[in-house]
């Protein structure tokens, strides 16, 4: 499945590395990544795909202490675009 995740992050050192490492380790590939700095921190939109259910990834991302919020914006079977 392909998923689009929207994350709000506190702008702390290594926060993006944490997100990327967690995503890789939990078995998901990142196809597109957009990051924008704002007054409340970082807004990140990330398109990912993986064999595992998405809760395996989102459950781990939600444990990051620099994560303010996470939404699954869309979910599509592989081969379809969001």
């Amino acid at each position: 499945m392909n998923y689009q995740l929207m994350l709000s992050l506190q702008d702390q050192p290594a926060v993006m590395e944490r997100v990327l490492q967690t995503t890789r380790y939990r078995g998901f590939c990142i196809h597109q990544l957009r990051m924008q700095q704002g007054p409340k921190g970082l807004s990140v939109t990330m398109d990912v795909s993986g064999q595992q259910p998405i809760h395996i990834l989102t459950g781990q991302l939600r444990k990051l202490y620099d994560l303010s919020s996470l939404e699954i914006a869309s979910a599509q079977p592989v081969g379809k675009t969001a």
Partner: protein
């Protein structure tokens, strides 16, 4: 009195405010200001002989007290030497605060002497990590580290501090001890659904993990088991949580689980996972694990729910609050069946009485009886670790320190040092394998330096035993690099550190040698020579269901 002080002094004052009386570490260039400040601090520092040993000692202290352990190291190799212990604490959910010195800010990013990106290295093996880049962030970072280490599921937090911040002047504000969040009460609807599952179950089984001890929910667990007459199995980290004398307690499950425990799991129709995460060493072939059971999963960590198996009902929260709300007595027929199976599969220690070689299970069972379950026992990793889990019993999970998730050889001796520092009046025993013992053998010097009365039992089969066992059983007896018959004479090695020691090799020597070890006032090493061919039974072969375990050949 001025509230201005150096960053290094502020760290130590902060630790004192958190109730930290002892830290473990090793000095070096970037952390020198902290070591200078230690000379004027009431905090006791225990110099270990390797940073890994220092961190394992902090883990031993943390696990034996259910509170935060602290260790300190310098930048570069000091920091990298800590990493295995950091990973160990992550996988076993140990509240640890690791403080590393870093090169001064102007030198950062220049490949300076003893500079390493420990923040980057720590990302995947810590619960959280921080680098202090401004003096005003120093104390808030430490407060956050203590909060995160204890919040929800505990874990290790690394705080990397550049040397110039340690030397700079900072203000010390009024602080209170950091308290973790009070967890919210469990969802009432979920409690009702859980009780419905319990009421419907004909063959319920409690499967107890390390989360029970960490939640300090041992009394609630024991009440839950007793009130509902529940048969119970335990993970390696859960040992000590359930009352080992309860007639329906079956011991450890999993790859080296006891037969009655594994068979009960395969037969149950409701598996109540309590602070446990269905890890691969427990489940064996996951598709065939507890095949007839619905799963009721109780945990503090949302990410563990549905991770390895879909739960029928999952309740997140504090086990102290959840367990008293659950009820559903097991049927008499199921209890009778479990009790009969337990008796039929009970280990027969007398069978080994006339053996030529010392029988490790019998020795450990005897040691457990002699210490009346009150000793704190730390282990290394391998065959001896599984024998401890199978044949010793514990009054509480804080009495059994074993590297479960990472399975780190070399854990036992330094963890015992930390436990002994935390509990100077308790008996602390490190049960080591000959392979593992050599991995942190330098900590004998720490024992000697502080006169810590840790007892070391080296179970020596002159092999890297567990790997040897797998080579024998699953690699056609092709023994590759597992022969350790060139081990040093461990008793003489201990004596070189001025630690009393003796060596035994005959079954008739065991009882008197154990008595001498336990009665000795200071540190003591008992070197026990074992048969190199001894294996751990039962064993569940790879990719096999737990009920297809191989039991001891007759």
């Amino acid at each position: 009195m001025s509230n201005k002080m150096t960053g290094a002094q502020a760290i130590l004052k902060f630790l004192g405010h958190q109730g930290i009386e002892a830290v473990f570490g090793y000095p070096g260039g970037a952390i020198m200001p902290l070591y200078d400040a230690l000379l004027d601090s009431p905090i006791r520092h225990y110099l270990c002989r390797h940073e890994q040993g220092a961190a394992f000692a902090a883990i031993g202290q943390a696990r034996s007290t259910n509170s935060v352990g602290v260790c300190v190291a310098t930048s570069g190799p000091g920091a990298t030497n800590l990493l295995t212990s950091l990973a160990d604490a992550k996988l076993d959910s140990v509240p640890l605060v690791v403080i590393t010195g870093q090169v001064a800010r102007p030198a950062m990013g220049t490949d300076a002497f003893q500079e390493v990106d420990v923040l980057g290295l720590s990302l995947s093996i810590s619960k959280h990590s921080m680098q202090v880049l401004d003096g005003k962030d120093l104390l808030p970072s430490l407060e956050r580290a203590f909060f995160i280490a204890q919040d929800g599921r505990p874990g290790p937090v690394l705080v990397d501090i550049p040397k110039d911040i340690l030397l700079s002047e900072v203000s010390f504000p009024a602080l209170k001890p950091v308290q973790p969040n009070t967890t919210t009460s469990a969802d009432a609807d979920l409690i009702a659904k859980a009780n419905q599952l319990l009421a419907q179950a004909k063959r319920p089984l409690a499967y107890v993990g390390g989360g029970v001890g960490m939640a300090e929910a041992v009394p609630q667990l024991r009440d839950f088991i007793t009130t509902n007459s529940l048969p119970t199995v335990s993970t390696l980290k859960g040992l000590g949580a359930a009352d080992a004398d309860h007639p329906l307690y079956l011991g450890m499950l999993g790859m080296h689980g006891l037969p009655a425990a594994n068979l009960a799991v395969q037969e149950c129709d409701l598996l109540i996972a309590i602070g446990a995460r269905l890890d691969d060493r427990v489940t064996g072939k996951l598709d065939e694990f507890a095949p007839h059971a619905k799963l009721l999963h109780l945990d503090i960590d949302p990410a563990e729910i549905h991770k390895r198996r879909q739960a029928d009902v999952a309740i997140l929260g504090d086990l102290q609050a959840i367990l008293p709300q659950l009820q559903g007595p097991a049927s008499a027929a199921w209890c009778h069946h479990i009790a009969q199976r337990k008796a039929a599969k009970a280990y027969n220690y007398s069978q080994a009485d006339d053996a030529e070689n010392i029988h490790a299970p019998t020795l450990l069972h005897y040691l457990s009886e002699q210490t009346k379950r009150e000793a704190i026992v730390s282990c290394d990793v391998g065959q001896h670790q599984m024998w401890v889990a199978q044949h010793m019993t514990f009054a509480d999970p804080t009495r059994h320190l074993s590297s479960g998730g990472l399975g780190t050889m070399g854990f036992g001796l330094p963890a015992a040092i930390g436990a002994q520092v935390a509990h100077p009046d308790k008996a602390v025993i490190a049960v080591c394998g000959d392979g593992s013992f050599m991995m942190n053998v330098q900590e004998l010097a720490t024992l000697r330096r502080y006169g810590l009365p840790v007892k070391i039992l080296v179970l020596d089969n002159q092999r890297l035993g567990m790997v040897k066992q797998w080579q024998e059983l699953f690699h056609q007896e092709r023994y590759s690099e597992t022969d350790l018959s060139d081990n040093p004479p461990f008793s003489r090695l201990a004596q070189a550190f001025d630690i009393a020691a003796e060596e035994i090799s005959e079954p008739s020597q065991v009882q008197e040698a154990v008595a001498r070890m336990l009665a000795h006032q200071g540190p003591y090493l008992l070197h026990v020579r074992l048969d190199a061919n001894a294996n751990v039974w039962p064993i569940v072969p790879p990719n096999t269901a737990n009920h297809q375990m191989w039991e001891q050949p007759q």
